[in-house]
Assembly symmetry: C2
Homo-oligomer: 207 residues x 2
């Protein structure tokens, strides 16, 4: 199984990022090769990457932090467009782009969820350092719409993001549905429309 | 780790159910003892339960069907009360009852999700034979409310159930939040209220 290289977010990377990539790729390969996350030890990463223990711990504070970064490294950042139509922007931010959902990505998403369910400590680290930060631009976009009176003032933003993200996870975790099939996309889009109506019904500035 | 006995749904069980219990308990114990579902073979179930291969295959058509029934055996049926207030009824049906969420149950739910993510074939069997059937009374309650004009006629029922169930799964799978903590319950209840507003806004018979 081939592993996609971590997403490169900046051009002109400084020295040392080549080592980062080797460590992250080795960690991902180990995660995919073992059903049990306990097998993904720092010693195994050292052996596979050829990078020293000291160099690894200079970059990541713990095994858990390294695994969390490795699992996150293939995810593109969440981008909330600002088209003036927040409903469409939310769908654009949360519907997976078929071009990015190659089979390797789907395997990694499943792996990430398995790791979280097997290891609550990993799960919390991943939530705190990655997922909750990834939600921030979405929360900001909803707050802007609230300030403009386009979204109800009493909407619970955290609960709303849980709904929109949750309906996506449900397709993968419970239905086992292909996230980019037309049927799944239609169902998720319809769900987001219902949430949107619930966020906006009765708001002052809704046309 | 002790495993709760499968929920007994009927009094006066016929002969042979004792064997069923032994097989299901052995299967659950094996699922909990191994991180890798591949270790849960029919041979291992025979060894642990003392029940013969022929007797097992008389009751379950395949290893996947047996594992799905074992994982489902500790779940109580979904009951949608019919109080006249569907919003409250949906919350009652989907908010976990703290009395039923002992640590063993929480472990089993995580296990069920891990098995599904590790094995798409198991996941589809479990969806088809268990989850989709469990949703049927919820769909029926929403259809009744639609017929009465209390829920919008254009609401996509499948997508709506995905939202309500999905926000629950998100707490467990992504946040790693205690499902019965007051904070989680408040967030989920608030999310369901937003969905409810989306299902009903503009419906003919909404007060």
């Amino acid at each position: 199984m081939t592993v996609a290289a971590p997403v490169r977010r900046r051009p002109g990377r400084p020295r040392g990022e080549h080592l980062d990539d080797r460590v992250l790729t080795a960690t991902l390969e180990l995660l995919l090769a073992h059903d049990d996350i306990a097998s993904v030890t720092i010693s195994a990463v050292i052996e596979r990457s050829g990078v020293s223990r000291a160099a690894i711990y200079r970059r990541w504070e713990s095994r858990e932090a390294l695994i969390a970064v490795a699992l996150d490294s293939t995810r593109a950042p969440v981008i909330v467009p600002d088209s003036g139509n927040l409903r469409e922007d939310l769908i654009a931010a949360y519907m997976p782009d078929p071009a990015e959902m190659d089979p390797g990505t789907a395997v990694l998403i499943r792996k990430r969820l398995i790791v979280a369910l097997q290891d609550p400590q990993m799960q919390h680290a991943y939530w705190r350092e990655h997922v909750s930060r990834r939600r921030e631009p979405v929360a900001a976009a909803i707050r802007r719409a609230q300030a403009l009176g386009k979204v109800r003032a009493d909407v619970d933003i955290e609960a709303t993001i849980d709904l929109i993200a949750g309906v996506q996870y449900y397709q993968l975790v419970v239905r086992g549905a292909d996230p980019v099939s037309p049927e799944t996309r239609r169902r998720v889009s319809s769900a987001i429309s219902t949430v949107w109506r619930g966020m906006t019904a009765g708001a002052p500035m809704v046309e």
